[in-house]
């Protein structure tokens, strides 16, 4: 009970105001609650300061230097950022990342929506739901390696099938036009089950009687989906979109084990570019600058989406 009341103030103030928020409410609470609150918050705060705040500040500092990890950094001001503007590889990285996100999120949400609807309206088998999660449980590096082998031009099962069907074999990860869609679909394969489960949970919140009355009125499945399920799913859909969009921007591991940014620069996404700059070319300062810009970009994107999310939350009421 004590812990419950101790955590209450920050909850009530909705996380926007913190310590001072307790001010006006003072008469209602015993003094030592706040001390207890800080005590409980301390581990998280220390962790946050040590593993998030400090590295972020240090990263911002490095972005203003020529740090190469081997020699002490020299302050160079905005030089890295100026270089960034003229760096075609950086713009290319943003472009291919955007392309990836569109392909990945588009296909993933669409497929997940279909799967979730089927689970919702057709079968509620727990075993099936569990099966859908299996690809999501496999580590990304393993997923990348498995598909690298399956799709290999010479030894891959998929190309054996193509060959058996009399079709021309191809190298999915080495073709400039196919490489990015392939990576995007591999990750769609890995994540669709999880996304579908989230959407399914959202669908369960839709009152059952709506479907019953709709079917009494003679509405078909498609009509019920478009008129009932989809509109009422919007808040959940928005949440899933925010979460998976940010996750999608962070695409790295699949690229690192399959295409390594190639062919030419077709899959050199922003995170892979940062990694290359920092750890294979030792431009830690420059890599930090890209990371800072990326953080800002993601911040803006999240803010926009949060607004969308809040708009749809009022929809629910």
């Amino acid at each position: 009970m004590g812990a419950n009341t101790a955590v209450a103030p920050p909850h009530k103030s909705n996380g926007i105001r913190t310590g001072e928020a307790a001010g006006p409410e003072k008469p209602r609470r015993p003094r030592d609650d706040r001390k207890a609150a800080w005590l409980f918050l301390a581990p998280v705060l220390v962790g946050f300061a040590l593993f998030y705040a400090y590295p972020t500040l240090r990263g911002v500092y490095y972005s203003l230097t020529d740090y190469n990890m081997l020699a002490p950094p020299n302050f160079t001001g905005a030089e890295n950022y100026q270089q960034l503007i003229g760096d075609e590889q950086f713009w290319n990285a943003l472009r291919v990342t955007g392309y990836y996100v569109v392909l990945n999120i588009g296909s993933q949400i669409l497929l997940a929506l279909i799967l979730a609807t089927l689970m919702h309206r057709l079968t509620r088998s727990v075993a099936l739901r569990a099966l859908l999660l299996v690809p999501w449980l496999v580590p990304n590096v393993t997923v990348g390696l498995v598909w690298l082998w399956l799709l290999d031009a010479n030894l891959g099962f998929v190309n054996h099938m193509l060959d058996a069907l009399g079709m021309e074999t191809t190298s999915f990860f080495n073709s400039p036009s196919l490489a990015m869609p392939t990576v995007a679909l591999v990750n769609t394969w890995a994540y669709t089950g999880y996304t579908a489960l989230l959407l399914y949970a959202g669908m369960l919140q839709v009152p059952q009687h709506l479907y019953e009355s709709a079917s009494l009125d003679g509405a078909g499945e498609w009509r019920m989906f478009s008129r009932i399920t989809l509109p009422l799913l919007r808040p959940v859909l928005a949440l899933v979109l925010v979460v998976s969009l940010i996750g999608s921007f962070q695409i790295f591991d699949t690229i690192a084990v399959t295409t390594k940014g190639g062919p030419v620069s077709a899959t050199r996404v922003i995170y892979y570019y940062i990694y290359e700059q920092a750890f294979t070319q030792f431009h830690m300062g420059y890599a930090s600058a890209i990371a800072v810009v990326l953080a800002l970009l993601l911040g803006v994107l999240t803010a926009v989406q949060m607004r969308l999310l809040r708009a749809s939350r009022s929809d629910l009421a």
Binding site: S171, P176, T258, V264
Partner: protein
């Protein structure tokens, strides 16, 4: 084996004695045991160097050598992070593209004063190897091995196609008609119906075995393909190597070489890049998917492994208008500038570079040691196993037959730039001349 160890031990005792005399003045060793960290990346070489370490420890009971092997893909990253955190290994295996960066940032110990002090004899090394590691009078490592390039081919396959070993040992090449190399490759390319590349009905859409497997993840040097061929028509990477500051990637000779590779692909004699496997060429060729490729001497044991089903042989690179040209590249052992055990690390490096250690490494026949005596051991070991590796040793020994891979600043930045440009040509996205001209401007821009 034992006699080698004993000889090594005797030599080391002398070394230890001299080192002891010098370090008598300000030695900080408190009589405790020193552990030296030593890094290398090649797992096949690990047993050979473990043997050296054992011999070294026997002669220097107060020093233990801890060898860490990390795969090439992670090696430089790990090393850099360790350097950044001040925890680097005392001694590590160095490579010529990477070391200028470490030298420029003061991470490598200049061993020239120690070489002078101990009067280390550098004349036993293969010519040219020791000098790669010198910049502005400072010496950043002692050579440990060398490699040259050659052709590897499937003997039964070429025999069946009517190309003899004698023909393959004396191929010619030029970018206009590809010389006898292209003829051999064409004959070795076989489609699903069993027709070879010279047959008018040859179906390039259904090739069963490609005559040649090119390498396209080859950085800024093209060591496994365009590098040696372009050199055989007179291409030179740099105004001055090592330590040049102007690259010549815009040389029309290089463009002509890359165009020839493209032509090979268009003919169907080599796999299209966007349809090629992600598996390494060495694996594909041992699986019978290709008949020939260019390889480095460090891969010999992959092809001669008794477990490999197909039989392979090595041939010299084809002779271009300027003769046969193979890259020669060597690794060295370098000492970290921040080591706490400078004298011990130097002792270990000196031992690694000594004929004793290199001869024992040579016996393993996994690599050609930098010491000529070590190379001879390796040759003898290969011969005893019935392998002919003279393609590589002849290349190293021939006058004007070798060239150095580029050793300059910015090596790690140049590699991806040039590799991307070459890949874009091979994929048909851009013409060779314009792509190479534009990448050359970028590369030279790094030196401004």
């Amino acid at each position: 084996m034992r006699s080698i160890n004993r000889r090594a031990g005797a030599a080391l005792l002398c070394l230890a004695a001299t080192a002891g005399l010098v370090s008598c003045g300000g030695s900080d060793s408190a009589g405790g045991k020193t552990t030296l960290d030593y890094w290398l990346w090649d797992d096949r070489q690990l047993p050979a160097y473990k043997e050296c370490a054992t011999a070294f420890e026997k002669a220097n009971p107060d020093i233990t050598v801890k060898i860490t092997q990390t795969a090439w893909d992670q090696y430089w990253q790990n090393l850099t992070t360790q350097l950044a955190s001040g925890e680097a290994p005392d001694v590590w295996t160095n490579q010529s593209t990477y070391y200028p960066q470490f030298a420029a940032n003061g991470q490598l110990l200049d061993v020239q004063p120690l070489v002078d002090r101990d009067k280390v004899d550098l004349s036993g090394f293969q010519a040219g190897l020791a000098d790669t590691w010198v910049k502005d009078g400072k010496r950043y490592g002692l050579p440990k091995d060398w490699d040259t390039m050659g052709l590897v081919y499937n003997t039964a396959h070429f025999e069946k196609q009517g190309v003899s070993a004698a023909e393959l040992a004396d191929l010619t090449w030029n970018p206009q008609d590809g010389g006898t190399l292209e003829q051999a490759i064409a004959k070795a390319t076989v489609d699903a119906e069993g027709r070879n590349g010279l047959d008018p009905d040859f179906d390039k859409k259904h090739v069963k075995t490609y005559g040649f497997l090119p390498e396209w993840a080859d950085g800024g040097h093209g060591q496994n393909g365009w590098g040696p061929l372009a050199a055989s028509i007179g291409f030179q990477y740099l105004d001055k190597n090592p330590w040049g500051t102007h690259y010549n990637y815009d040389d029309p000779k290089l463009a002509a070489t890359i165009d020839w590779f493209k032509h090979l692909i268009d003919k169907g004699y080599a796999p299209r890049f966007d349809k090629s496997s992600d598996v390494a060429n060495s694996e594909l060729i041992t699986a019978g998917k290709g008949a020939m490729t260019i390889v480095g001497s460090w891969t010999i044991s992959m092809f001669t492994d008794p477990k490999v089903k197909e039989k392979f042989a090595f041939a010299p690179l084809p002779a271009g208008p300027e003769g046969r040209k193979s890259s020669i590249n060597g690794l060295a052992d370098s000492i970290w500038a921040g080591t706490e055990h400078k004298e011990e690390a130097w002792k270990w490096v000196k031992f690694l570079a000594s004929p004793e250690c290199q001869k024992s490494v040579g016996k393993h026949a996994v690599v050609f040691p930098a010491q000529k005596a070590g190379t001879e051991e390796a040759l003898a070991a290969h011969k005893a196993q019935g392998r002919d590796v003279t393609a590589f040793t002849d290349a190293a020994a021939s006058k004007d037959g070798t060239f150095l891979l580029p050793v300059t600043e910015h090596g790690t930045e140049i590699n991806p730039l040039v590799q991307d440009a070459v890949q874009s040509v091979i994929l048909g996205q851009t013409g060779a001349e314009s792509a190479l001209k534009s990448v050359n401007d970028k590369v030279n821009g790094l030196f401004k």
